[in-house]
């Protein structure tokens, strides 16, 4: 449990950090995913650049109906910041489900997003929120949607030299109900499946609905088949149950020691049902 030797830099500015990263250094944020891999010698980066301390990546602010969250904001801050709890409760709720308090105190939003663990919690919420992810390299900045960003198992739209600098989520309209429901793997605490739902009512019917699912397969996704089966339908248990049955449509489910593909698929349906119920009950 001892890492290989490596160099460690703590640049003072983002520009400096991006310069080092362009030269091949690896960003270190909360270290909650990277350091264990290094201690097992499954990862042996030669040069780490600590970006967690950069003030330029540590902020939460509201601008034009959107919330901008710096990549180095910790899970704990996402979970507890009044601005997020009030205006994007789905993200805050999701952050509260990550690991344990020690992990949440150090792990960061940007680190989790960039790492793209297939069982990570945030991606479900970010898919449902139609979040934007801001990517920056020494050469410049671009913005992609969550749906574009998460590509496959541990695979994202990040190009070499690029880092995540910010996540942008909408200020939740007051009437929307949201919920994150997670079946956790008891050993690690990661998600076997996690389902984030946003529900707006349209009278007695479902209005707009977004559902994001993590853990089921190699990457998070929007469960569009579920959404389509809800919109415009009566906001009832039967509608939810029938719609949730589509949670895993077109998806090849993961299988491991803790859950076979069939079981995971069944859990995805159950937790989608729960998330929709819960979101509906919180909507006005």
């Amino acid at each position: 449990m001892i890492a290989n030797p490596f160099e460690y830099s703590t640049p003072a500015t983002l520009a400096e950090a991006l310069g080092l990263i362009a030269d091949g250094a690896k960003p270190l944020s909360g270290g909650m995913s990277l350091i264990p891999m290094m201690k097992l010698r499954l990862a042996s980066p030669e040069h780490l650049v600590d970006i967690a301390r950069l003030p330029e990546l540590n902020y939460i602010r509201e601008e034009n109906g959107e919330l901008h969250i710096g990549a180095a904001v910790t899970h704990y801050d996402v979970e507890s910041a009044p601005l997020l709890c009030g205006k994007c409760p789905l993200l805050a709720e999701t952050a509260g489900h990550i690991g344990d308090i020690q992990v949440r105190n150090r792990g960061t939003l940007g680190g989790s997003v960039a790492h793209a663990d297939p069982a990570a919690d945030y991606p479900a919420a970010l898919q449902a929120l139609e979040a934007k992810i801001v990517l920056r390299s020494a050469a410049g900045e671009r913005v992609v949607t969550a749906a574009e960003f998460f590509i496959d198992t541990f695979t994202t739209a990040l190009e070499p030299g690029e880092i995540v600098t910010e996540v942008v989520v909408p200020v939740e309209p007051g009437l929307t109900g949201t919920s994150y429901q997670k079946c956790l793997q008891p050993a690690s605490g990661f998600a076997i499946v996690g389902v984030a739902a946003r529900v707006r009512r349209d009278g007695a019917n479902f209005g707009a609905v977004q559902v994001g699912i993590t853990g089921l397969t190699g990457t998070s996704y929007r469960a569009t088949a579920v959404e389509q089966a809800l919109v415009g339908k009566p906001a009832t248990d039967e509608t939810i149950r029938a719609a949730a049955a589509h949670a895993a449509d077109g998806v090849e489910a993961n299988s491991d020691l803790h859950a076979s593909a069939d079981y995971r698929t069944s859990l995805a349906v159950s937790y989608t049902t729960r998330a929709l119920h819960s979101a509906l009950s919180r909507s006005a």
Binding site: I2, L40, R41, A187, Y263, L267
Partner: protein, 780 residues
């Protein structure tokens, strides 16, 4: 001489039976305790071990040149270097036992993932780890076998080529007339029941610091062990060094649960390396290594048959027990399943048994004693079988137990397996548990829940166990224990115990006992253990023996020192008869008195030495018990199963345990709660899983589910008390009770919940997916 001859006025409160907080805790929870990792010696070197990634392979070549060339690497040793070092010892004496040579470094073949192949020694641990990465080993991979039943199948790969059937031993235990029992039977139930491999996972992994002084031919070894003296004797033998020049220190030990009741390759290897390079050497086990190479527990496949009458009377039991031994024998590996057999009759009054144990080699890490050591497996088996029998007969599981319990008038009760149960009133304890939980009310609730389509279960386990190991005839290295009570000249008291507490709290409970017996303030008492140069020989801590054997030895030492205090007190008071109590020696005729502290001081100064007495105030006592003790109890768990997801919720947990007298009920609670957590861990979550190629796929906490505080139910714990007649304290032992009682209660509860679906048995751990498959995602 400052004798005041005035009666002491302060009467000390009696402490035995009080819920005193542990004196150990402040140092433990403030991080100031000294574990092996905290031992730092001048010029200390560090060892890192290169281990096999394969379950079975021949070693073609080992190239250490790159590792040796790394600056800071001082030495690299392989199996070829360790000539003259003994093999890892096994204390079992089963007839016909096949003993593979268990070298401290692999010779020409590796037998399990993690098998040590080379050791790299460097000036710091980081360099040693880098060096270990540079050792190049070429393997010729062979087919491994990790499942004991597959290992016994014809044509299976041989773990050890000289024994192609993979059988290390077979052991038979027969009692009564099993054929007659089965001939008489009106009903026979059969079930295959497994008890999966568990990884003990003490909070502190193992670790060793070895300090060889070449000029003195002396070794000091710090190691995280439960058995400092036995480890020293055995390691001295392996290393060929003299025991009187070998000091072994078990500093703070962060849990063991049996996994440190052993002598390991790394202890000998670290010592040998220190002897080779003439410098202190430290080896600290990583968590990964702890999973891979520290013993595992359990590992049974059991085939049970019970013969009974229609009225529920159990007539006899047949068992074929396949024990997954792993690739080698550690200290007690082959002994553990024989303990299961001994415990097989449980609390029940039947005298016919036929048991066969097949000890089976696999390409896995050895199994050995893990909290309960053979008894949880046995209890799980018999308690499951009794429930299966009840289901078969349509009887209530409580009723069938009452019908078969050994009755109070039958004690001492000789069992079919040759034990002699000391005392108990099983029905009374069980009734208390049933009343506490309102069993009949619960069954009504259950009927309603079922009518409403809910899966509610009530699981009972009435367990017994063998504790206080034990008479020497039954304990390989000796079953006695020792204690020294020493007044210092100042009147302070030092207690040396041969047990080696590592979380059990005897620094507190033994001080309570000593304070009460001597009438000395508890703050004046220090309890020392775990250092072979300080403590007289001792056997150590395992098998719930600390209080019942070590505490009893202390009790006798205290009685003897009290006699000596009286003799010296009488001499000082010039009295013929004196009374000793509350720390004061009193001449009842004159009312004159001296305190025990004053007597001790005088005894050292030799002022008055009564005829036939020696000066000083020290007594050492070795004490051998005549029997084991047999604690028992009843655990009941109410659960509800979510048919849609397979999740299990524990609604209530009632435990009534009879462990005899208690020195400190707070410590008892701690033992029971921790034990229950480990027992529920086995029932619900934990499993050491090897794949067919010998890879341990639950090789870290990432996939091995340790129970967490948030997963624990509230335990409603209470007691009955049948003092043990075996020792003067009347104590039975409590270290393993929780682990033994909880597991079958949990499994029986879930099986009961699913019984409307026709479920009769589920193998552990009861993962949600297993349950989901049985409920078929009903209600979804």
């Amino acid at each position: 001489m400052s004798t005041t001859f005035a009666p002491s006025t302060t009467k000390l409160e009696k402490l035995v039976g009080k819920r005193l907080r542990r004196r150990e805790d402040p140092r433990l929870i403030t991080g100031t305790a000294t574990y092996v990792e905290d031992v730092k010696l001048p010029d200390m070197h560090h060892a890192v071990i290169v281990r096999s990634p394969h379950g079975a392979a021949d070693i073609r070549s080992i190239d250490i040149s790159k590792a040796k060339a790394l600056p800071g690497v001082v030495a690299v040793f392989t199996g070829a270097d360790i000539v003259g070092v003994g093999t890892v010892p096994c204390g079992a004496s089963l007839p016909g036992l096949r003993r593979p040579d268990h070298h401290i470094l692999a010779q020409d073949r590796v037998y399990l993932v993690g098998h040590p192949v080379a050791v790299v020694v460097a000036t710091d641990r980081y360099i040693a780890a880098d060096g270990a990465d540079l050792v190049e080993v070429e393997y010729d991979i062979k087919q491994a076998v990790t499942d004991p039943e597959k290992a016994l199948a014809p044509g299976a790969p041989a773990v050890h080529s000289q024994w192609p059937d993979n059988v290390a031993f077979t052991f038979h235990q027969n009692g009564g007339d099993i054929d007659a029992a089965f001939a008489e039977a009106e009903v026979v139930v059969k079930q295959r029941i497994t008890s999966q491999r568990l990884v003990p996972n003490a909070m502190e992994t193992r670790g060793v610091v070895a300090d060889w002084k070449t000029n003195d031919r002396s070794l000091t070894l710090y190691t995280s062990t439960q058995i400092p003296h036995l480890a020293r004797t055995l390691l001295a033998g392996m290393l060929g060094i003299e025991e009187n020049r070998f000091r072994l220190i078990a500093p703070e030990v962060g849990g063991g649960f049996g996994s440190k009741l052993n002598v390991y390759s790394e202890e000998a290897l670290t010592a040998w390396v220190s002897m080779k390079i003439g410098k202190p050497v430290k080896w600290i086990e990583s968590r990964r290594e702890n999973f891979m190479v520290t013993i595992h527990g359990r590992g049974h496949v059991d085939y049970f048959e019970i013969a009974a009458k229609r009225d529920g009377t159990i007539l006899g039991l047949k068992l074929k027990l396949i024990q997954d031994l792993g690739a080698f024998h550690q200290l007690l590996t082959p002994v553990i399943p024989t303990l299961s057999v001994l415990m097989m009759p449980g609390l029940y009054n039947f005298r016919n048994i036929q048991a066969e144990v097949v000890g089976t080699f696999t390409n896995c890490v050895p199994t050995d004693a893990y909290r309960g050591a053979g008894r949880p497996e046995a209890t799980h088996g018999i308690e499951r079988m009794v429930d299966i029998l009840a289901a078969e007969l349509g009887m209530d599981p409580a009723e069938i137990r009452f019908k078969n319990f050994v009755r109070p008038d039958q004690f001492p009760f000789p069992t079919a397996t040759g034990l002699n149960y000391d005392s108990g009133d099983y029905a009374n304890t069980f009734q208390k548990a049933l009343d506490t939980i309102d069993y009949h009310g619960l069954r009504k609730q259950q009927a309603e829940a079922r009518a409403a389509g809910r899966l509610m279960g009530i699981g009972i386990s009435t367990y017994g166990e063998i504790c206080a190991m034990g008479p020497s005839v039954a304990t390989p290295a000796g079953g006695w224990e020792s204690a020294t009570v020493k007044f210092e000249p100042s009147g302070k008291v030092t207690v040396l115990t041969g047990t080696s507490p590592h979380g059990q709290g005897q620094e507190t409970s033994f001080a309570q006992l000593t304070a009460d017996e001597l009438g000395v303030p508890i703050d004046d008492i220090v309890v020392l253990h775990g250092d072979t140069s300080i403590v007289q020989y001792g056997i150590g801590t395992f098998g719930s023996r600390n209080t019942a054997v070590g505490g009893a030895a202390l009790f006798y030492a205290l009685q003897e020192i009290k006699e000596k205090l009286k003799k010296f007190g009488a001499a000082m008071l010039k009295a013929e008869e004196v009374e000793l109590g509350d720390g004061v020696c009193l001449n009842p005729k004159t009312g004159e008195s001296v305190t025990v502290q004053e007597i001790a001081g005088a005894a050292y100064r030799g002022v008055v030495i009564p005829p036939g007495m020696d000066p000083g105030m020290v007594v050492t006592k070795f004490w051998e018990p005549a029997n084991f003790t047999y604690p028992f109890g009843a655990h009941i768990i109410v659960s509800e199963v979510d048919a849609e997801t397979g999740d299990i919720e524990i609604k209530r947990y009632v435990a009534v345990d009879d462990i005899g007298n208690q020195l400190n009920p707070l410590l008892v609670d701690g033992q029971l709660h921790g034990g229950a957590a480990q027992g529920l861990g086995q029932a619900l979550w934990e499993q050491g899983v090897y794949d067919d190629n010998g890879q341990l796929v639950t090789g870290e906490f990432m996939d091995y589910t340790m129970p967490r505080a948030r997963m624990m139910p509230w335990i409603e714990s209470s007691h009955t008390c049948t003092p043990s007649p075996v020792n003067p304290l009347g104590a039975k032992g409590v270290g393993e009770a929780g682990t033994i009682g909880s597991t079958p209660a949990m499994v029986n509860s879930v099986v009961d919940a699913l019984s409307p679906l026709g479920v009769r048995h589920i193998d552990m751990p009861l993962t949600p997916e297993k349950i989901w498959k049985l409920t078929n995602g009903r209600n979804a």
